[in-house]
C-alpha cells in the first residue's frame, strides 16, 4: 500500500496518468473550489475574531486539501467524527458556513446540523483532544453490528496521537475488525510542541502496528493523493476489510488559534519553506496545466466565494441570541422537576451577551 501514497515532492505527471478520466478532473476541480472557498472563509473568520465579532477561532490554513478530500471521499451514509479544524469537511457534509461561525461564536446552535444532509448524524467538533476517537470506534461497532456497509472517518492532529485514547481506539478497531479510518492531520505542531517531541516513532503511521492494522503516510498537501488514500481506506472499511490509519503530512500555516502567537516558538524561515508546498497553488498549477482551470474561472469563483462568505457572516451576525433557558432545556430529554425552579430563576435574570 505504501507506494501510491507519496510523501515526495509533488509530481503532476505521475498523478495525471493515474487520474486520467474526466470524472476525476471534475472531482479535482470541485475540490479546488472548496479549498478556495474555505480559505476565504478562514480569512474572514479571523477578521471577525480580530474585530470582536467571533470567539477564539481555529484556522484551517494549510490543511484545506486534507479536510476537503475527507469531505469528498465520504459517502452520504458514512459517519464523520471531526476534530476542530475540519471546516471544509463539515461544509461538504452539509453544514452551512454560518453554523460554523455560530460554533466559534459561542453558540451551541452551530452544532444543530441540517436534518436532510449527511452531516445530520455526524458528531460535532471535539475539543478534548483525541476523546472523539474511542467514540468513533463505538460508531464503527454500531455500523458493523448493523451490517451497514458504511465507514466511519475520524480525524485528529499529530499531538492527539500521544493520548491513550488514540491507541485504545486503534487497538479495538484492529481486534474487532471495525470499519474505521483514523485520519491524522500531521501539521507538524501541537500548539508549540513540534512533532519530534510527541513521539520517537519513525512515522505516526507506524503506530498502526501497535493495533495490528494497516497504516501509511500520504502527502496532505496533495489533493489527488489524499483522495486516493481515503478512497482506498474508506472502501476497505465499507467492505469489512478492517481499519486503517492514514497519516496526512501537511503544515500548520496559521497560528494554532487566534489566541496563539506562533512566532514565539516557530521560525519564520520554516514557515516560509512550508508555504512553497501549500495545497491550493499546487493543485491550481496542475488543473491549469491540464486545461481544467483558468484565470477567468478563478476570478469568477473568487467572486462567488466572496458572496457566499459574506452571506454566511450576515446570517451569523443577524441571528438573534438564543434564550438563556436553552442551557437547561436540552440537557435532559425532559426537564426534570428538580430543574423547574432554576429555569424560572434563569428566565427572570437579566442580560446575556453576544459574540
Amino acid at each position: 500500500m505504501n507506494t501510491p501514497f507519496t510523501t515526495t515532492p509533488y509530481q503532476p505527471h505521475t498523478r495525471l496518468t493515474r487520474l486520467g478520466a474526466e470524472s476525476n478532473w471534475q472531482r479535482l476541480c470541485d475540490g479546488y473550489r472548496t479549498m478556495v472557498l474555505i480559505r476565504q472563509f478562514d480569512k474572514k473568520a479571523i477578521n471577525l475574531q480580530r474585530t470582536g465579532q467571533l470567539g477564539t477561532y481555529a484556522s484551517c490554513l494549510g490543511g484545506e486539501a486534507i479536510a476537503t478530500a475527507a469531505g469528498q471521499a465520504l459517502h452520504d451514509n458514512d459517519y464523520f467524527v471531526p476534530y476542530y479544524r475540519d471546516h471544509a469537511t463539515q461544509y461538504l457534509r452539509g453544514v452551512p458556513l454560518h453554523q460554523v461561525l455560530q460554533y466559534w461564536g459561542g453558540d451551541e446552535r452551530g452544532n444543530v446540523f441540517p436534518a436532510n444532509t449527511p452531516a445530520a448524524r455526524d458528531l460535532p467538533y471535539c475539543v478534548p483532544i483525541a476523546s472523539q476517537l474511542t467514540q468513533a470506534a463505538g460508531i464503527a461497532t454500531k455500523a458493523k453490528l448493523g451490517h451497514e456497509h458504511a465507514a466511519v472517518l475520524a480525524t485528529c492532529g499529530d499531538g492527539a496521537t500521544s493520548r491513550g485514547d488514540f491507541y485504545e481506539a486503534l487497538n479495538v478497531a484492529g481486534v474487532w475488525q471495525l470499519p474505521l479510518v483514523v485520519l491524522i492531520n500531521n501539521n507538524q505542531w501541537a500548539i508549540s510542541v513540534p512533532r519530534a517531541l510527541q513521539s520517537a516513532s519513525t512515522t505516526l503511521a507506524h503506530k498502526a502496528q501497535a493495533a495490528g492494522i494497516e497504516g501509511f503516510q500520504v502527502d496532505g498537501n496533495d489533493l489527488p493523493a489524499m483522495l486516493e488514500a481515503l478512497d482506498y481506506a474508506l472502501d476497505k472499511a465499507r467492505h469489512g476489510k478492517g481499519a486503517t490509519l492514514v497519516e496526512a503530512l501537511s503544515y500548520r500555516l496559521c497560528d494554532h488559534t487566534t489566541a496563539d502567537d506562533a512566532s514565539r516558538y516557530r521560525k519564520a524561515s520554516e514557515l516560509h519553506v512550508a508555504w512553497q508546498n501549500e495545497p491550493l497553488a499546487r493543485l491550481r498549477q496542475v488543473l491549469v496545466a491540464a486545461g481544467h482551470w483558468s484565470a477567468d474561472l478563478e476570478t469568477g469563483w473568487l467572486g462567488e466565494c466572496q458572496q457566499r462568505v459574506d452571506d454566511a457572516i450576515e446570517h451569523y451576525l443577524n441571528t438573534p441570541p438564543a434564550p438563556a433557558t436553552d442551557m437547561l432545556d436540552y440537557l435532559y430529554a425532559a426537564l426534570p422537576e428538580a430543574l423547574r425552579a432554576q429555569r424560572q430563576a434563569l428566565q427572570q435574570t437579566a442580560g446575556g451577551s453576544h459574540g
Partner: protein
C-alpha cells in the same frame, strides 16, 4: 429464570440483587434489540459477579461484548454507540476503576444532547458495583457517587434491594439520558426476595420511603440502607419512630420527599459509606439548611465514612458507618 418469567408472567420471582440485575438485563435485551452489553469479562465469564451470566448464550457475542481492558475505551465506545441510537449498557468491573472513564462521562455523555441542542443524544447506562464490606483488595470498595452526582446531565441511580434493582435498572435502560447505575456489591447475594419482573419500571427521580415515622428522618442509599433500617429497628425498641428514606436517585434529586419528611420530623440523620467531606450527604444537608431550615429542630447529623480512603479490608469494618454510630447520631438529634 427468564424462562420462568415467561411461563408465569404474573409471578413474582425470588431473586437476590445480582439475579435481579441479570434478569433485568435479559428482559431489556428481549424487549429492545438496540440494547447491547459491553465490558470486561462479561461474555464468556458472565461478569466477575455474574451479572451477565447466560446472556452471551441467549443473545450472542454481537450483543454481549468482551472489550479490551480499558475503561476509557469502554466509555468512549458506549458514547459513540449511544450517539447513533444504540442503547449500550456498559459494565465497569468495579467502581474503583471508573476514573479513567470520567472524561467521556463528564465531557461527552452528559453533554452530547445539550451540546447539539437535541440533535444527538446519549442513552447509555454505565453499571458498576460499589461500596465495601466484602473483604476485597484495594480499590474494590469505593463509593465515590458524589463525584458523579455533581455532573449535570448525568443521572445517578443507586439500588438497595432486588426489586428496586430490577425496576430501576429497567428504567435506566429505557431512559433517553445517560445513567450511572451503581450496585451495592455487599447486597448482591444477601437475600432472595420476590421481584415482580413484569411490573413497569420504577421512576428515576423519586426517593423511596421504606419506613414511616414521625420522630426523625434517616436518609441513606445503597448498602447502608440495611444498617439504617437496623438502626430504625433499634430506635423503635427505644420507642423512637424513625422514617427511613432511600434516596435512590442522587441526580436529579427528589428534594420534595426529603423536605416533606423533615418538615414533619424536624430531625435528620444522613448516612453514607463515602467520606463525609464533600460527600453527597452534604447536598442533602444543604437542602435542609436551605428550604428546610425553619422546620429543623436539631442539627443535621451525617454518619459517613471517615475522610480517608477505604482502608485495606482488615480495617474496613472500622471505617464503615455502623448501626451503633447511626443510633448514637439519632439520639443526639433527639436531645434537642
Amino acid at each position: 429464570m427468564a424462562e420462568q418469567a415467561q411461563q408465569h408472567p404474573d409471578n413474582a420471582l425470588p431473586l437476590n440483587l445480582i439475579e435481579a440485575i441479570n434478569h433485568a438485563l435479559g428482559q431489556a435485551m428481549e424487549e429492545d434489540d438496540r440494547v447491547v452489553l459491553l465490558g470486561e469479562d462479561i461474555a464468556t465469564n458472565g461478569g466477575v459477579f455474574r451479572a451477565t451470566e447466560g446472556l452471551k448464550e441467549r443473545f450472542g457475542l454481537r450483543r454481549v461484548m468482551d472489550t479490551p481492558l480499558a475503561e476509557n475505551l469502554i466509555a468512549g465506545l458506549a458514547v459513540g454507540m449511544a450517539s447513533q441510537g444504540l442503547k449500550p449498557v456498559a459494565e465497569i468491573q468495579f467502581m474503583g476503576f471508573i476514573y479513567a472513564a470520567l472524561e467521556q462521562l463528564i465531557s461527552h455523555a452528559a453533554r452530547l444532547r445539550n451540546r447539539t441542542r437535541g440533535r444527538l443524544s446519549c442513552p447509555l447506562v454505565i453499571r458498576a458495583p460499589f461500596g465495601g464490606g466484602i473483604h476485597a483488595p484495594e480499590h474494590h470498595s469505593e463509593s465515590t457517587e458524589a463525584l458523579f452526582a455533581h455532573i449535570p446531565g448525568l443521572r445517578v441511580v443507586i439500588a438497595s434491594s432486588p426489586a428496586r434493582a430490577h425496576g430501576l435498572l429497567r428504567a435506566a435502560i429505557a431512559c433517553p439520558d445517560p445513567v450511572l447505575f451503581l450496585e451495592p456489591k455487599r447486597l448482591y447475594r444477601l437475600q432472595r426476595l420476590p421481584v415482580s419482573v413484569d411490573e413497569s419500571p420504577l421512576p428515576l427521580d423519586t426517593c423511596f420511603t421504606l419506613r414511616a415515622g414521625h420522630d426523625l428522618t434517616l436518609i441513606s442509599w445503597g448498602a447502608m440502607i440495611h444498617e439504617t433500617l437496623a438502626a430504625a429497628d433499634a430506635l423503635a425498641d427505644q420507642g423512637v419512630q424513625a422514617e427511613v428514606i432511600d434516596v435512590a436517585c442522587l441526580n436529579p434529586l427528589d428534594r420534595n420527599t426529603l423536605l416533606t419528611s423533615v418538615s414533619k420530623t424536624g430531625r435528620a440523620v444522613i448516612i453514607h459509606e463515602a467520606p463525609g467531606h464533600g460527600g453527597f450527604g452534604a447536598e442533602i444537608a444543604a437542602t435542609l439548611a436551605g428550604d428546610g431550615l425553619m422546620q429543623l429542630r436539631a442539627p443535621v447529623e451525617r454518619v459517613t465514612g471517615y475522610d480517608c480512603p477505604m482502608p485495606y479490608f482488615a480495617m474496613e469494618q472500622r471505617y464503615m458507618p455502623s448501626v451503633e454510630r447511626i443510633v448514637a447520631a439519632a439520639q443526639r438529634t433527639l436531645e434537642y
